[in-house]
Subunit: 302 residues, 2 copies
């Protein structure tokens, strides 16, 4: 059996958004800004800095505007924000975000419970925002969440994921990020899902967004790499997932992912030591050890 892997991959750092929105402690605005600037200094080129969602729904991101405005921007870095609707999009535009992201589950029940809309209704809403983003020359990506399984519906048909991936790329998404929201996926499933999606859309438009709830994320990423996928979401330190909820877990850790990629001679632009320094500061603020394994080898133990 002959394997080949991409020479380099693109990362989307989601720690400041998907990570911090799921932590028990709320990080203050100045420390969020310092965190984001530290991530950029470590070499990360795409950072999802916040979500322009009603603060009532996600209190830890209530300072979204202050954070977005407060970051000293660096050239060559794309600062991204999640936007659920036109209002969020307009906030992202007003705060000079470089790109935006939509999230839609591959499960009707999940969409009804989380965004109070059926999948097709939510897609129609995003269509309007996407047309506006196209006019404004703002690139966007789409998260297809619950693509590996849904907490309410259980198994999710591959065809639903493929269909949404097609819809979003037809709409102009530069990338669709296939999400294992509850970390239920396995590498065989990853192979099958990626193979099905890349029959319909270009391989270089596929990203993976994996939560590491059951420890499968890196195995799933390795499976995807062997098929040529070269875009992955991750969060510094493995941030996210309330430590007080059984089984809740953050995204795959950026450190562990970067360690694996570099060890496999796959390039990123990240300096792993600098990144670990940034995450170690964050775990002090959050008063808990973050789950990244590579980070644990850098922790100074007294």
């Amino acid at each position: 059996m002959k394997f080949s892997f991409p020479q380099s991959v693109r990362l989307m750092e989601v720690g400041p958004r998907d990570g911090l929105q799921n932590e028990r402690l709320i990080v203050d605005t100045m420390n969020k800004i310092g965190f984001i600037e530290g991530l950029v200094a470590s070499g990360l080129k795409r950072i999802e800095v916040t979500a322009f969602v009603n603060p009532k729904w996600i209190p830890p991101l209530a300072d979204q505007v202050e954070v977005a405005k407060g970051i000293r921007r660096q050239k060559g870095v794309s600062y991204a924000a999640l936007v659920p609707n036109m209002k969020g999009y307009e906030q992202a535009l007003a705060t000079k975000m470089d790109e935006v992201a939509f999230v839609l589950a591959a499960s009707d029940t999940h969409n009804l419970k989380n965004i109070n809309a059926k999948t097709d209704e939510a897609f129609a809403r995003y269509t309007e925002v996407a047309l506006r983003a196209a006019e404004d020359n703002v690139p966007f990506r789409a998260y297809i969440s619950c693509a590996f399984g849904c907490p309410y519906e259980g198994e999710v048909a591959v065809s639903r994921v493929v269909h949404l991936a097609q819809l979003f790329t037809q709409l102009g998404a530069y990338e669709v990020s296939i999400g294992d929201t509850i970390g239920i996926g396995n590498p065989k499933q990853t192979l099958e899902l990626v193979q099905a999606i890349c029959k319909e859309i270009a391989l270089d438009k596929i990203a993976l967004h994996l939560h590491d709830t059951r420890g499968m994320a890196l195995a799933n990423i390795f499976a995807a790499l062997s098929l040529g996928v070269k875009s992955f979401d991750s969060s510094a330190g493995g941030l996210g997932g309330c430590p007080y909820a059984p089984g809740a877990s953050g995204n795959v850790s950026t450190e562990d992912l970067v360690y694996m990629l570099h060890a496999m001679d796959i390039k990123t632009e990240v300096n792993l030591d600098l990144l670990c320094g940034v995450s170690l500061k964050m775990e002090k603020l959050l008063k808990r050890q973050l789950p990244s394994k590579v980070l644990s080898t850098k922790r100074v133990v007294s």
Copy 2:
């Protein structure tokens, strides 16, 4: 790219030995016996129950004889012990172990520091024990440790690992377990190492023994599965690795491994829920949360 995977795999549960010898707290004999019996009840068919090593070197396993004698044996289960020399072998024989294991590093420096012998001297010592085991019809396996890298020498030549694997199989080992002792390996390296070894020895004599220090173990196992490897060592809960030493880490968790295998339609004989119950009891005794991710989804949080 077309993948195929084994239909079933063999596991070697090393929690009672490799796990408990590296925990900060020492588990008493009765609880060790209960642990081993619980592991068997969960469906594990090969268990490394202890090491017949001078207790001066490994105090947590000082009750090796009591443990080995105390276990109520079940048919169809192979109870294994690590033996460093003829004296250890004789203790294993006297306590009716079903199989024994030798450990030898693929690094001279590591062998000198750990067993006070050069690699060839240590191999000569094992040869004597192996001949005796053959006479006694006691099957044995060999751990080739530091096969992915050495804490003293750094990189370890693939040729050294291949050579030792050949030597041990020629000596009669039913399996060689290729060890990533310091958890430094990556899946690309796993592919290269397994491909090199299985040019020289039969694929079904290869096992992997991976510590999860940097979170790579399951990705490495997935890589090996895609090449047809079907024997893996693991420890319940991911036991092992002193939590007070930075970067020290246990073996890949049996729960996470079994979860991945079952999800990929690869059979083991393990009942995952029963196994989690056993590990949850053990983490109470050890007064720390074990690192298994799947286990964390079973923990009842108050």
